[in-house]
Symmetry: C2
Subunit: 239 residues, 2 copies
């Protein structure tokens, strides 16, 4: 064993952890993450991404096809899911135990995720009762690296007449999150689609059971991910 050999498994740096998360989010369902999309998500210049991509593929965390994009290896995916678990448990802990609102929580978790130990995360998860979803409805990966894959439909694409449960809110923007909260649009809410205007027009919904109407423009409707609710009529299960 030569003293000059690099440490075989050095701990990942803050930057590397954020790159892996970004690549995970951008390469859903087996696709490639593009250099420019990673750069935009992390707010760095594209050449910075090219440089990091080189290092990450040398260490076996990603697969790089030049001019095509990158994908996580199994090892890289494990590391990404670990960070996502940390991030989402932190978000939930901050909202439930320390009074954060769901808009402010993302920025704080973005920093803390790199500093917490496994032990701290598991203690937080225990305090919270080993939760399944974060404040925005996103599934929390298990400590073993499993994550729920739900088929959800965006409110902008849901059919008129559909009865839906709002499951996930697909933004971290504090202003948009605050607006959704004001409108009562938080994960778990039931609603029916009552109208959609043509030419990318707004969707009108009625909250269940209050019946309160809401009009949601396409930009925001695309952020509201819903599950179709089987319509149960007076205790009769649908067939």
């Amino acid at each position: 064993m030569h003293a000059t050999l690099r440490d075989a498994n050095p701990p990942l740096t803050r930057s590397v952890e954020d790159y892996l998360k970004a690549i995970y989010h951008l390469s859903n369902q087996g696709g490639f993450a593009a250099t420019s999309d990673i750069a935009a998500m992390l707010e760095v210049a594209p050449p910075s991404v090219s440089g990091m991509v080189k290092r990450l593929s040398e260490t076996g965390l990603i697969e790089h096809v030049p001019y095509r994009g990158v994908q996580l290896t199994a090892q890289g995916r494990r590391a990404a899911l670990k960070m996502i678990r940390r991030h989402r448990i932190l978000e939930l802990y901050l909202t439930q135990q320390l009074g954060y609102d769901w808009g402010g929580v993302h920025a704080e978790a973005e920093q803390l995720e790199h500093a917490v130990s496994d032990e701290l995360i598991e203690r937080m998860a225990g305090t919270l009762g080993n939760p399944q979803y974060d404040p925005h409805g996103d599934p929390i990966p298990t400590a073993a690296g499993e994550i729920e894959e739900a088929e959800l439909v965006s409110l902008a694409e849901a059919g008129v007449g559909a009865k839906l449960e709002l499951r996930q809110v697909g933004t971290q923007d504090p202003a948009r999150l605050r607006y959704f909260a004001e409108q009562g649009l938080t994960p778990g809410v039931l609603l029916t689609v009552t109208d959609r205007q043509p030419f990318n027009g707004p969707t009108t919904i009625a909250l269940v059971p209050s019946g309160d109407p809401r009009v949601v423009g396409r930009e925001l409707a695309l952020l509201l991910w819903c599950r179709e609710v089987p319509v149960e009529q007076h205790g009769h299960a649908s067939h």
Copy 2:
């Protein structure tokens, strides 16, 4: 305003924050912190310290007298006390809210102190009732940067017969802390010094009120910082 000018007040890096804390701890009561002591405390080589010292004095956080040592400026002291507040609130929060024992808490706080926001620290402090002391009895600086300066005597130097209150435990070593906890030697405990053997020998104490005896070697006794308790006899205040 030229775009080429460096940001006037960039946020401090993790390294800088740890250097400032180390210098604070090493330059108590107006003295100088020595390069080699800073290096030992941070586990870096002395030339790394010389390099950092140059940068820190250029940014006005410390004063450097070559070959003599360094001192914090007012600005550097403010920054150091802010980090110490963070560290101690984190330690207390982790022990009181998340079930950490006082041995494991230091390493976790050492990382988190660089990642938490002011808002998070103040929320934690609020949850804890704006506490004055951390789990090891160390005073927590206020948000305004005030810190209590107590005159304490080490158990190794206290006179035989003295009645003392254990106030601070001056180590972060998990093994030593665990041992102290086993022996019932935690901040707040009352005791009397019953014996001291010569030639740097052990100190024998009796816990109050149980009377249980403990024998403490000099190395550990030097870590136990105590306050003299005015001896009140059956309700008679001492004159």
